[in-house]
């Protein structure tokens, strides 16, 4: 969005813009995630508001040059508050034809497309699946539609590093920094943050000063090329955002979960025992915690998902904060053990960084399709607490809340995040740790009064730790007698125990905050969401309200139990829209529990909602165009009632109508 261009003698004109969406795309070995992360750090440090969306393939190295192997990183940076990584791309950096092909459709008309021309040879065009003889860079339509900048980045990088003393392979690996340098110039960003990080990583940590020097040289060369070559007609400038003064850090959801767990354990005077099996996109929670041994954190990479949850329960049994982390398929494997934690009423936190399913599904892409699995995916009547984080930074608070409830109420808590939250990042105002509330956790000690299944006013049974004399008792998966905890198969006792386990969760609702919509307290339409869709929904509702529409928003953190006043809030609105990255799982819960005629916007495309998709659904709801349809789906960013029927026999599934 431009707000003015100034021209001074001898320098290129600078155009002041409010925000921009930049996407780096290349082969998965091209270092695009790194370039994106650097651009993010720099933008955060200079005070823009940011939101990012890494988008990488499931294969570490899919065949080089193919569309399957394209890795992308999108960042939205702004001088205003933003809540999503952006809809349309303003500048695409495409390091090869496959990256160009995979991402060009997302670029705004008139947007910048910077391509590494060196890689647009016959072979690479073929690998990308372009027909023989066709080069999109020569396509007139492409040149008219976009501002296409063809720069032989590979060659220029090699020339710039001719004196570096590095081999060809190592030189070539610096080309991401060359490209990054050009983009830094284009958006008027300083180089020092990246230079410092290259220096401390390659120079100091890895003790490879020559690699550090080459990367820095490539970065600077790219920047100077941007400055001196008559390539870009203008340089863009995005001012600092007016965000609240204070100290911030760039944070991803997975980092925030790790930090939240450690903080919660400390607040409770306990240590974290994080037991996990590597799984995308949850693994870097394990990595982060493994690096925190000096906090007393014990990480255990188990032999499988089941062993991971079992070990976490074992750790909780001895009085520590037992946590397991996973993604959808792993949650499925853990379900029996989670049932045991429900039966034995053991504290347990299960972090589920959701991804596209079912089965292996889309391992690196985001989705919200594990909600009902979290709610019901176990044998027997087996309620657990479910909490959903709504932004990368919010993963910190949610992890503390999940840990607190697990420890104080002796229940398994499933903390739902997703691939987008886990790997996405935002600036996070660093909280004042002195203001954190202690988490009070009591353990049974008195043999005179101890009964394993006696309960307090919240129906919580005592947490008696092995090692405590006089409290020896036996727990397990068989039904237990109320109060005594002895194995018991009596009909009335089972009814009582099933209901007490349910009631324990239900009563928690009274201890969690009531919920109020943002926007007006009542109106025509309530847009209800949960989890990682918060940013898109919040932005869309805000935009609709600016246009005078009577829309409010409500975002659930506590999904089981739900806030006590939710039913009442729903009744204040004529219509309810629930956008979800699944086929309507929260919608089903809301319809079932509150008999509300909620309608959905449901997207399962491995990507977060675009703001404009939700805006369109809001309009269709307000206009009453949903008719009898329970939900609509977006296609290519468009939500159209007439575009909803699949032709399952046609090649692309699109209806011919």
């Amino acid at each position: 969005m431009g707000t003015g261009t100034k021209q001074e003698a001898g320098v290129k004109p600078t155009s002041e813009i409010k925000s921009a969406v930049v996407r780096f795309a290349g082969d998965s070995g091209d270092g695009m995630q790194l370039a994106g992360a650097q651009f993010t750090s720099t933008s955060a440090v200079i005070g823009n508001d940011i939101a990012t969306l890494p988008d990488y393939p499931a294969e570490i190295r899919a065949p080089v040059g193919t569309v399957a192997g394209v890795s992308g990183f999108q960042i939205n940076f702004s001088s205003e508050s933003i809540y999503t990584p952006g809809d349309k791309v303003n500048a695409l950096i495409a390091m090869n034809p496959a990256a160009f092909k995979a991402h060009i459709d997302d670029v705004d008309v008139g947007g910048i497309v910077l391509v590494n021309e060196s890689e647009f040879g016959k072979m690479n065009l073929k690998k990308a699946g372009y027909p023989e003889g066709y080069n999109p860079l020569d396509d007139e339509e492409m040149n008219q539609r976009f501002q296409l900048f063809k720069v032989p980045i590979s060659r220029l990088n090699t020339e710039a590093l001719a004196e570096s003393g590095l081999g060809n392979k190592d030189v070539n690996r610096c080309k991401n920094m060359y490209a990054l340098g050009m983009v830094y110039w284009l958006y008027d960003r300083p180089l020092d943050t990246t230079i410092n990080q290259i220096d401390s990583y390659f120079g100091k940590k890895k003790k490879m000063p020559e690699v550090a020097a080459a990367n820095i040289a490539a970065l600077k060369s790219g920047f100077y090329f941007g400055e001196t070559a008559e390539l870009f007609p203008v340089q863009y400038h995005v001012a600092k955002a007016a965000i609240k003064p204070g100290k911030y850090r760039k944070i991803t959801g997975n980092e925030a979960v790790a930090m939240g767990l450690v903080t919660a354990a400390k607040l409770a005077g306990k240590d974290v025992c994080y037991c996990s099996y590597p799984i995308t996109p949850a693994s870097n929670v394990l990595h982060a915690l493994a690096g925190m041994r000096n906090f007393g954190v014990k990480t255990f990479q188990a032999e499988d998902e089941i062993a991971a949850v079992c070990a976490a329960i074992g750790a909780s049994y001895t009085g520590q904060l037992g946590v397991t982390g996973t993604s959808g398929p792993g949650l499925a494997l853990k379900s029996e053990a989670i049932g045991l934690a429900v039966m034995t009423e053991m504290p347990l936190v299960v972090v589920n960084v959701q991804r596209g399913g079912p089965a292996t599904g889309l391992p690196t892409k985001t989705e919200q399709s594990d909600l009902l699995q979290a709610m019901y995916g176990r044998n027997g009547e087996c309620p657990v607490v479910i909490i959903a984080a709504q932004s990368p930074g919010d993963c910190f608070d949610s992890a503390i809340e999940a840990s607190r409830i697990a420890m104080q109420h002796r229940v398994p808590v499933i903390l739902m995040t997703d691939g987008y939250l886990g790997n996405g990042s935002e600036p996070w105002p660093i909280p004042d740790h002195t203001k954190f509330e202690k988490i009070k956790v009591e353990h049974a000690t008195d043999p005179e009064t101890y009964q394993p299944y006696a309960r307090d006013e919240n129906l919580v049974r005592p947490w008696a730790l092995p090692g405590t004399p006089g409290l020896e008792h036996r727990i397990g998966g068989l039904e237990k007698q109320h109060i005594t905890g002895n194995v018991n198969y009596e009909p009335d006792n089972h009814q009582l125990m099933v209901e007490v386990r349910q009631k324990k969760i239900d009563r928690l609702a009274k201890l969690i905050p009531e919920i109020e919509p943002y926007g007006d307290p009542e109106g025509e339409l309530l847009v209800l969401g949960w989890g990682g869709t918060y940013g898109s929904i919040y932005t869309a509702v805000g935009n609709a309200r600016k246009e005078g529409k009577k829309v409010s928003g409500l975002h659930l953190r506590h999904i089981n139990p739900m806030p006590t006043n939710l039913g009442e809030v729903l009744k204040r609105f004529k219509r309810v829209l629930i956008p979800e990255l699944n086929l309507g799982q929260l919608r089903m819960l809301i319809r079932g529990k509150y008999l509300a005629d909620a309608r959905g916007l449901n997207k399962v495309q491995g990507r977060p909602f675009l703001v404009e998709e939700i805006e369109q659904a809001i309009d269709l709801m307000l206009q009453g165009k949903y008719g009898d349809r329970e939900y609509l789906r977006p296609h290519n960013g468009l939500v159209r009632v007439e575009d909803q029927d699949y032709d399952f026999t046609s090649i692309d599934g699109r209806s011919q109508s």
Binding site: P245, Y248, V262, T263, I306, C310, H473, N486, V487
Partner: protein, 335 residues
Amino acid sequence: MTQLPILTAKDFASDQDIRWCPGCGDYAILNQVKKVLAKIGARRENTVFVAGIGCSSRFPYYMSSYGLHSIHGRAPAFATGVKIANPDLDVWVITGDGDGLSIGGNHLMHILRRNVNVNILLFNNRIYGLTKGQYSPTSETGKKSPSTPMGSIDLPLTPLSIALAAEASFVARCIDVDKNLGEVLERAAAHRGSSFVEIYQDCNVFNHFAFKHASDKDTKEDNIIRLKNGKPLIYGKDRDKGIRLSGDYKLEKVVIGKDCQEDDLIFHDESDEKLAFMLSRMSYPEFPEPMGVYYDVKDDCYEDLLTQQVADAIEQRGEGSIEKLLNSGDTFEVK
């Protein structure tokens, strides 16, 4: 300090009625375990029995210590979590041939290779008892059972070979009704690391006399070898038979005084992994089956190494501060 009361075997019994079938080999094992705990001065409060699912896995309910009756096959994983979080507890894992080798085979392998300091008692009755008599991973080929009316076509596993292949640091075998059970359990408890003990256990309802060769008073001494570290492999009621290594590195049964002298026999060496493996491959009726401690070596325990890493990290980086943690990474000031 006040003197802790001395506990007897009875003190380790819980107040629950035992629900194993009358005549089940589990009773003998339960009694021996209680005796051994009393003998070694175990404390009830520091002792945790962790079990999976199956007849044997009801064991924790009958002990007066802490107990966790978990889910099928996963007891080693729970036990690992317990030991990681509190290495001071004495943990016993009770499992069976189905629980430990079929549904939980993976976890058994991994707790052994990590050498978590627990005592694993695998009650091998070569049958699924709790589900009413289906064949198990240790049942002999051809076993007729409700699920294999025409005889099983699976090749059975040898639990000790599995344990040794999984890098176990202590491997032993004994019989539910034999006098050496107590001795072996004591050795297992004393060993620092994963102690794996296979116990031949008679399921008198679904697989009675599966181990008759090894338990029958009149004939067993001809069918088992009682292992003693540093002593030759001699067996037989008259102690006149032995095991020798033949010229082509195969084990052979010999008669002492006739085929060879005592000195020509194999001498048991508990630190010899290859010998232990060879012994584990001896099976009745081709060979007498070795009983006692096959293998016992010192090795680091997982939980000790993990605790050490935590201590090292604190020493190198100082005790973690939440304030520093929150302020780590890419930080910046907004003014």
